[in-house]
């Protein structure tokens, strides 16, 4: 799909240029804002893998975003205060933090997926939502890490040689992850598992009738998806130097889903467009009225009723099916 590839490259190019533009115009806020866009894109790409390509409507991906965020926050706090956590002193080395976040989110995705993927349709939607809620309430009631008030960390976790507190540097770190995930997913989608996953979305009975067990494939996909969204959560905590239960809320799950859909499901770069659109809305409408989400709701309904294929299709002016 030559046209789509062109649009993808243009998107990457623009993203690459943003910090330079913001430097020239002396608007560092622009870089920070775009970092948020990139992080939300990563979260959305994780979800899009199972939702767009696999047809699994997970309404609980905030579980992974939030756990990635909390793991990062907790490790940093322990390193900050030099308290012992499970035999070691926490960490503020970002690479270690990333590794642990991905590990724990993958494990969590395996657990949640193991139960949820036994169901399908509406049950699946409700169950993924319920599990995320469970974690949300747990995070509010567990007192050690701030409860409802959340957790603040002083400085971003440390990356070798570079100063992560510099907005431009942190931005490129996040952008690097975006590119890593985009490339990895491209590989995975072109693999046998990728073809099976797409087939599960189209017709699961067909998959079984060629001798494939859909459960195992969906579970692996779900774990990969959870790991990606989880890492986004980790970056989010470092960006804001703050994490609170709201990253585990159903509203967060809804937001991630909305930006995936707005951008266009089953388009690899769709979530990026969706995140851009969402943040632009938040910044412009949000500046006008604190009830801006009313208009977001309105736009979503219009989109569902009339422009179902999403922003990418709109830009590519392709058939809407």
């Amino acid at each position: 799909m030559f046209k789509e590839e062109k649009l993808n490259l243009i998107t990457l190019y623009i993203l690459f240029c943003v910090p330079f533009v913001s430097y020239i115009f002396d608007e560092p806020y622009l870089t920070t804002l775009t970092t948020k866009i990139v992080i939300l894109s990563i979260a959305g790409i994780g979800l899009n893998f199972v939702l767009g390509y696999g047809g699994l409507v997970s309404f609980g991906h905030a579980a992974f975003f939030g756990v990635g965020g909390y793991v990062t926050g907790i490790l940093a706090i322990h390193a900050q205060n030099s308290e012992i956590l499970f035999f070691f002193k926490g960490s503020n080395q970002i690479i270690i933090v990333w590794f642990i976040s991905i590990l724990i989110c993958s494990l969590l995705a395996f657990l949640i997926g193991y139960f949820s993927l036994r169901t399908s349709g509406v049950y699946f939607i409700m169950i993924t939502l319920a599990f995320a809620q469970m974690l949300y309430y747990f995070s509010i009631s567990w007192p050690a890490y701030g409860g409802e008030d959340g957790l603040s960390i002083y400085v971003r976790n440390l990356f070798p040689l570079f100063n992560t507190m510099n907005p431009m540097i942190f931005y490129f770190i996040c952008l690097a992850w975006l590119v890593i995930f985009l490339s990895s997913l491209k590989v995975i989608l072109n693999s046998p598992l990728g073809l099976v996953l797409k087939s599960c979305k189209a017709n699961e009975e067909r998959v079984k009738s060629v001798g494939i067990n859909p459960f195992k494939v969906k579970l692996i996909a779900f774990v990969i998806s959870g790991a990606i969204t989880g890492l986004a959560g980790s970056l989010y905590t470092d960006l804001n130097r703050f994490v609170s239960p709201s990253v585990l809320s159903w509203h967060m799950s809804g937001e991630i889903m909305v930006l995936v859909i707005l951008g266009g499901v089953a388009r690899l770069y769709g979530p990026i467009l969706g995140a851009v659109f969402y943040i632009i809305l938040e910044q412009t409408l949000g500046g006008i009225s604190e009830n801006w989400q009313f208009w977001l709701g309105f736009i979503i309904i219009l989109e569902v009723l009339f422009a179902r294929a999403g922003l990418m299709s709109f830009f590519l002016k392709e058939n809407r099916s």
Binding site: F59, G121, V122, I127, Q133, Y137, S141, W250, Q293, F298
Partner: protein, 306 residues
């Protein structure tokens, strides 16, 4: 821990369960009959509560406030069904999730714009604000007792409505075979509007009833909605009986969990830790219950296996 405290908590669990039933009945019917997953159901709960608070303030009558909550939510449900919901019955679940999620945003911000960001107050009427004595020296809130009764009465009414009236039979038939019912000449459009509005009205009523015990604020409906989802998953989508059993199970498990677990953990930890560990695990208890049910019965206890 005394017996009377235990019984009081069981009654609280019943009251919670009964209120959850009012929420879940509508949700499960809408899914069973129309195949629609509706995230905006929590918004009707909120609308009912706000309507009640508004009319209680206006008229001073709690009774009128309750009626107003039912009617307001009924009306909101009907309007929503006619304008938007109708257009998405045939869409896939993802579209329905999105559209109804958008409705939550619309309703929440709409109410916030109308009433402001601060919670409203709805007071328990004076006649019901005291407790009355039960055997074993238990004093239980009259108001909560009333909620339990209302819930049971509505459950009975629903039962008769579904199994004995013509509309009810059409609803049941619609759950099994939508096309057939329509082919038989039943006005499906009207039937769907009735089912949807009825569900919304029940949600509104439960919002109003609870609004007097907790606060009336924007976003109050969503946590309850998610609990209703857990209830339906446990009880089985499409089954009113499942919704009733599931609601009571969830209500009692949650209440007893919060009550007993901290005490349980105090045998092993100090008081402060026991409370935090206990209440944290208690907050997860119903989800663990849901996971257990799903292992043995993936379609819920009374699920129609759709």
């Amino acid at each position: 821990m005394t017996i009377s405290l235990l019984i009081e908590q069981i009654l609280n669990g019943l009251q919670f369960g009964v209120m959850l039933f009012l929420m879940s009945a509508g949700l499960t019917l809408v899914f069973g009959v129309m195949g629609l997953i509706n995230l905006a159901h929590g918004s009707f709960y909120m609308i009912g509560a706000f309507a009640a608070a508004f009319f209680a303030e206006l008229t001073g009558s709690f009774f009128i406030a309750m009626v107003a909550s039912f009617v307001a939510a009924l009306f909101a449900g009907a309007l929503t069904e006619i304008v938007i919901i109708r257009k998405i019955y045939k869409r896939d679940h993802l579209d329905q999730v999105l559209a109804t999620f958008a409705l939550i945003l619309l309703f929440s911000e709409g109410i916030r714009w109308l009433f402001g960001a601060y919670p409203l107050y709805l007071n328990i009427p004076n006649e019901l604000s005291s407790s009355f004595s039960l055997p074993l020296g238990i004093m239980y809130s009259k108001y909560r007792m009333m909620i339990i009764f209302i819930g049971i009465i509505i459950a009975i009414i629903l039962y008769f409505l579904i199994s004995k009236t013509l509309t009810g039979i059409r609803i049941k038939a619609g759950q099994n075979d939508r096309e057939m019912v329509s082919a038989l000449g039943v006005d499906i459009t009207k039937l769907y509007t009735i089912v949807f509005s009825l569900g919304a009205a029940l949600a509104g009523l439960s919002g109003a009833l609870i609004g007097a015990i907790q606060s009336v604020e924007v976003g109050m409906g969503e946590p309850v909605l998610i609990l209703a989802f857990v209830v339906i998953v446990i009880g089985g989508i499409g089954s009113i009986k499942g919704a009733f059993v599931g609601a009571l199970l969830v209500g009692i498990t949650d209440t007893m969990g919060r009550f007993l677990l901290p005490s349980f953990f105090s045998y092993f930890f100090d008081a402060a830790s026991a409370t935090s560990i206990g209440s944290s695990i208690a907050s997860m208890s119903i989800y663990i219950l849901m996971a257990i049910v799903l292992i043995f019965k993936p379609s819920g206890l009374y699920g129609l296996g759709k």
